[in-house]
Amino acid sequence: MASDISAILIYAVSFISLFFAFFWILTLLFEEPHLHTRQKKLKRFPKVSIIVPAYNEEDSIASTLQSLLKLDYPKYKLEIIVVANACKDKTAEIVRGFKSVRLIETPIPGKAKAQNLGLKHAKGEIVVIGDADMLVPSDALRKILPYFEDPSVGEVIPAVKVHKPGTLLEKVQRYEYILSSLIRQLMSGIGALFSVPGAFVSFRKATIQKLGGYDERTITEDLEIGTRLLRHNYKVISNFDVHIYVRVPWTLKAFHKQRIRWNRGFFEVFSKHRDIVFNPKYGIFAFLFPLFIAIPIMLTVTFSTAVFEIASAVFTYAPVVSLDDVRLILEAIIPKGPLYINTLVTVPTVIILLTGLYIYNKATKHLKERWTNPSSIFTFIFIYPMLLTLYWVMSFGAHIAKVKREWRGTMRW
């Protein structure tokens, strides 16, 4: 019975994975000639407000502000606002050192609240929300603002890359960010981009105000606003020719906190906007939105099946089988010829791995990155998905059990 269920699960995961893999490949093939469109020239220079919510960012805020001040944009049309929310360090003091930067201090924690406060004070026609640890290229605004000539555009996002990855965890996240940037670009091309990063995202202030600003009850307000914009028929556009660099968690503890928050936020957003699912009113987004929930389910099914099989083998054999016998078991597992291969598992795994590598290779090319460091590539392909699965399971458990959420603004990530 157990093996029947696991066979059905493997069939389901294989089919959905194949669908996803080829959907992205076909989308890539269709969109590739138009991925790097000729940059439109900015016809007019609207007033822009850049809002940077900051919570205990004394290490990075200065370099972020320096990069923002170097933006190639008329200074009288640019307003930079730092919302220091519940800071206990020298963030506010550092910001005060930048005369052209406006500082708003609030004792209330929470990134969404800080962003809404910034929005309230912003005078720009266009509002850009940034992270306090981002580094922005000088031409970022000139490349992003032309998209707002189209009144149906609600949000424009850049590609986000990892700044100077040092630890293995950072290097692995670098690959993830490269891949995500390409996938976002493809989603943007088919009008289904809702999963947006928090760094240097631009809106028309009137649009975001019309929608009621950021939802302060969700912990991933950036994901929520992207979804809300799509459901109100606004386009969310990605321009991955603009590369923003951010710091990512370099310790497992920080990474754990970030992923639990992201995943729980994803469940919240999915739950809040569940009426979109398969609703033809929302076009392709209505079909892709539920498929995104399939990713954590598939990861969980795949790895929990593997863990279950390994654990049951260990529990069954460990009490009686010696180390020498383990060698014999392993010898029996290693295929002695093609007929000894389990096609049920091997065929979809190989296809998905190859398509994944193809898409990743394209992502590195388009984002002007390189394949480096074999150990981190190995970790990214074979170990990182297991870690992500673990966090999906933990997040789902916490979401169901309604464990108290940790708000951004009381933590770095």
């Binding site: 080829f22 088919i190 009008g191 076009g283 054999y317 014999l328 007929l339 049920l344 296809i351």
Partner: protein, 218 residues
């Protein structure tokens, strides 16, 4: 921006490709199953023919002298090695198959071949007297740690004593009525159980030293 029609096309094409690949994968699995079953079927048929030919030789010669007996024993040992290898291959293929219907039929054929070999050993012993071929009947259960352990121990015994022939039977394989007959004959209900030289019953995991001692006693 991709047009609405193109989006539909992308979705439908991805669905078509995924479906085609999925069923191609299943088809490949079925092709592999067929190759596996035809390979084992071929080996079993060959082995069955070898045993029949061997039995016919014995009938034809009728009177057994030391030369024919030695030849018979030698041939029998070779046949048992073939049978044992087929059994191993069947076990290896079992978890890799999309469907086990065909494999179960082959498993039955293999059991019949094993029981037929057992009775042939009896015929040889009746005609030639006590042989130095040591037969061990091994009742095992699938996915049972103790049975697997016992399998490893029997491999050790076989590598130490060339004359040992193991007849392994899945105690829970009820598709073949012979299993129930064997269980009743040897009054065996647990796995692993060893029947050494047709009379000594050893239940639970038995160490190599004890098996060898029993074989020497027999």
């Amino acid at each position: 921006m991709v047009e609405g029609k193109t989006k539909k096309f992308l979705l439908i094409m991805s669905l078509v490709i995924a479906t085609v690949l999925f069923f191609s994968g299943l088809g490949l699995g079925i092709v592999f199953d067929n190759l596996r079953t035809s390979e084992i079927d071929h080996l079993l048929t060959k082995s069955q023919l070898d045993i029949e030919s061997f039995l016919l030789q014995q009938q034809f010669l009728q009177d057994f002298d030391s030369t024919t007996c030695d030849l018979a024993k030698e041939q029998f040992v070779t046949l048992q090695k073939q049978r044992s290898e087929i059994g191993q291959r069947l076990e290896d293929y079992e978890d890799k198959s999309v469907s086990d219907t065909e494999l179960n039929i082959l498993k039955r054929k293999h059991i019949i071949l094993s029981v037929s070999s057992l009775s042939t050993l009896g015929t040889i012993e009746r005609n030639c007297g006590r042989t130095n071929i040591e037969g061990i009947i091994f009742f095992y259960a699938k996915d049972d740690a103790n049975s697997r352990k016992q399998g490893f121990i029997l491999d050790d015994v076989r590598s130490e004593m060339d004359s040992v022939t193991v007849y392994a039977f899945d105690i829970n394989f009820n598709e073949e009525p012979l299993i129930s007959t064997l269980r009743t004959k040897y009054n065996s209900t647990v796995a692993p159980t060893l029947i050494v030289n047709g009379n000594t019953k050893l239940e639970g995991v038995t160490e190599a030293e004890q098996i060898i001692a029993e074989l020497k006693l027999g």
